[in-house]
Symmetry: C2
Subunit: 444 residues, 2 copies
């Protein structure tokens, strides 16, 4: 079963956009990496388009080829979202926070403070960290997966328990009677596991949505179990409808196993639209954005197609002999799409401009191509919604909002306005305050 | 030697004010504990008064008598300051951050992000945490003082090294040439100690002041050594001019021992002004604010005076027999002041309204009384400046700004405008980027 309308989130990263050369695109200020005004402006543009949430990935180390490319992340997700909370009214604010290299008390406090500051719009994408460079920033080694996930379970449960440590009616604010709060309704949690522990209570009363919403982005059996237990939204990485349907079903099954209604967990597929007045214009936009990165990607495209491709061929299509020799790699789910595009006769550069090596599917052409893509996936039960990676924020968010969103609305696929002021309402996530009692109920 | 003009900072806490009953004072919205608009408004009022910085204490546990009193702290200092950074232009933003229960990478990243967001106005009050309830929120025990301070040294040094991990000219932003940064100028730090370690680099280029300013608030020999090495400002807790002069000299000596010029470390004495058109009006304001707390303080006031005082005497002064029997306690530096006030014939309630058991001296009366207090202390070499605790923010900040600040300015004791846009400029703190080379120079 699918919902009647899709939900949209927008990835927000480095101040420029998701394409590596966004920082030097026309009209973009190359200083935006440190400009919080720009982040707030982008968030406002997304809010104009009724996006349910902004999704901020995070990573605890500096990575990427800084010579030619900007880091893909905001300077720091919590402070970025605090700035955005002050400049927006409705859009949800979801930050990635590592359960591996943060203490639950600190995580719980900052996310709850963001939730209160934003009047109930915060979400926490609770991830584990397996990157050795990140571990080195904390003077540690990466633990084995079972230990990392054990710590993640403990951290999420402690954070949620801390969030519930003020009963909803504990804060009296009764000035006349001189009663600030009912201390009997603000209680320690005294939760501890093998890795982390906390006594509580947290010094923060409930927000308008009670407490932040849990997002999940992990894969594999451990990730599925985590998402099935706690997540209201899963940020997926999928390249085909079949792939997405399978992942969505797996997550819904995991939710069922945890005693939850699978409708409580929304699955979001990624999409990286390339939009222009014509297909040629959309492709040219991506060709320009890929100028510095495409040459280095030629060999990998070759490996996806089972060919030895050389940079010298960038501006020529595959030859008949090459087309006859292709063997799409079974190790990359994007290979069939790459072959499909190559067979249309585009040059290697243009094949790459179709986003065939990008992280998510790239509909290329007028806004209707992106709208069709979203509709097809949504109606096929591949996703409850999408997280949209905009190539260049400066103009790309407005293009999506002005051209794609109205098409989806006309087709009845997307809401005309926010359902309410909280992220929980706009996600359709059920009320939750404190730990989910279904997870701890011994009667289950 | 003193500077020609004093520097003022303002303590910012729970949204109400530093007096326990501020949350229910007339004109105060009892919901302000969770209202970030209120915090921003207070910060703007302080900025109008040319305060050099806001100082946010912090504590990693919920404490206090919540039945009658609000917690004394903001919900979370970093997010509060992020909101304030977006609503102000010049005032410095100093948050307390525990070196005991945070990782240096996380601290360094958040403070540097705040510094960039505020265009060079961030400061970090680097403290150790010795409170068992806070330790319990992290599932830990409190380590012995030498270990706590060892970790503090390591944490500060690693944070400062991370702050310097982009050379000032590393960020090229050369869109025409397609060069984002010079990776050769963004280097790991690979620093590790007994307690914490980090590889770096941090993903954040320099701010307008390079990096955040270090504040210190610790006492004792360990605290002095820490302040002497790293701090540009010390938040003191002193009750008399003699006390303050001694503390200030001790800190300046500690700076000299660390190879620094003592002028680099500014000492701030606390003050909690009680301001009204007349002394009687100022006192009445405090009497009203103390209504719920004074009865419980009577026995302690008695112990300061060597008397068995009872609540029944609240509205009577000390009797001649009591005055003849007083023995000021040598264990509380506030005892002589309490006796001085009691001898003036005030009732016990009024003695308490003089702030004799508060954390800092309380000048009581028209604005000139506070201005005189600040002038006397400043000219006696007791402080380079003051951190001001306002009783009720809603009207108290404006009163201070409109009445005390002009007096200080007329007397030539306080600047007419900010020296510049950064905290470093407004503190008179020297430039620093990365670790202070004087601390690591083997030639010393």
């Amino acid at each position: 079963m699918t919902h009647s309308q899709m939900i949209l989130g927008m990835q927000l990263g480095n101040g420029y956009g998701s394409q590596p050369a966004a920082w030097r695109a026309p009209g973009v200020d190359p200083s935006n990496y440190t400009d919080f005004d720009a982040q707030v402006r982008y968030a406002q543009a997304a809010e104009r388009g009724k996006f349910a949430f902004l999704f901020l990935p995070d990573f605890l180390a500096l990575s990427g080829n800084l010579d030619h490319e900007a880091p893909q992340l905001t300077l720091e997700p919590m402070l970025t979202l605090a700035a955005i909370a002050r400049g927006t009214q409705r859009i949800g604010l979801v930050a990635t926070g590592s359960t591996t290299f943060n203490e639950p008390y600190n995580l719980a406090r900052q996310f709850k403070a963001l939730d209160v500051m934003s009047h109930g719009r915060a979400g926490w994408n609770a991830v584990t960290t397996s990157d050795p460079a990140s571990a080195a920033n904390f003077g540690r080694q990466i633990a084995a997966r079972p230990q990392r996930y054990q710590r993640a379970h403990e951290t999420i449960q402690i954070a949620q328990a801390l969030w519930g440590s003020w009963q909803p009616d504990a804060w009296l604010k009764d000035a006349a009677a001189g009663r600030f709060a009912d201390p009997g309704k603000i209680q320690p949690i005294n939760l501890g596991g093998e890795h982390v522990a906390s006594q509580g209570p947290l010094p923060i009363p409930p927000s308008e949505q009670g407490q932040p919403v849990i997002f999940s982005a992990g894969g594999g059996d451990y990730g599925l179990e985590l998402a099935g237990r706690y997540a209201s939204a899963v940020i997926g990485a999928v390249f085909t409808i079949e792939d997405a349907r399978a992942q969505r079903e797996a997550i819904r099954d995991a939710a069922r196993r945890a005693g939850r209604n699978p409708e409580e967990v929304k699955f979001f597929a990624g999409v990286m639209p390339a939009i222009g007045p014509t297909k040629r214009a959309a492709l040219d936009r991506r060709v320009a954005l890929g100028e510095q990165t495409f040459p280095a990607r030629v060999p990998y495209l070759g490996s996806m197609l089972g060919l030895d491709l050389e940079v010298a061929q960038l501006d020529r299509p595959l030859s008949p002999a090459q087309l006859a020799a292709v063997r799409p790699s079974p190790f990359d789910p994007r290979s069939p799409r790459a072959l499909e595009v190559a067979r249309e006769g585009w040059t290697i550069r243009e094949v790459l401009a179709h986003g065939v090596i990008d992280y998510h599917p790239t509909p290329v052409g007028p806004a209707s191509v992106t709208a069709d893509h979203l509709q097809e996936w949504f109606e096929a039960g591949a996703a409850d919604g999408f997280w949209v990676s905009i190539d260049v924020y400066e103009d790309g968010i407005d293009t999506f909002v002005d051209e794609v969103v109205p098409l989806l609305q006309e087709r009845g696929l997307f809401h005309l306005d926010y359902e309410g002021p909280t992220l929980r309402e706009n996600l359709g996530a059920p009320a939750q305050y404190g730990l989910d009692p279904r997870l701890t109920d011994p009667a289950r």
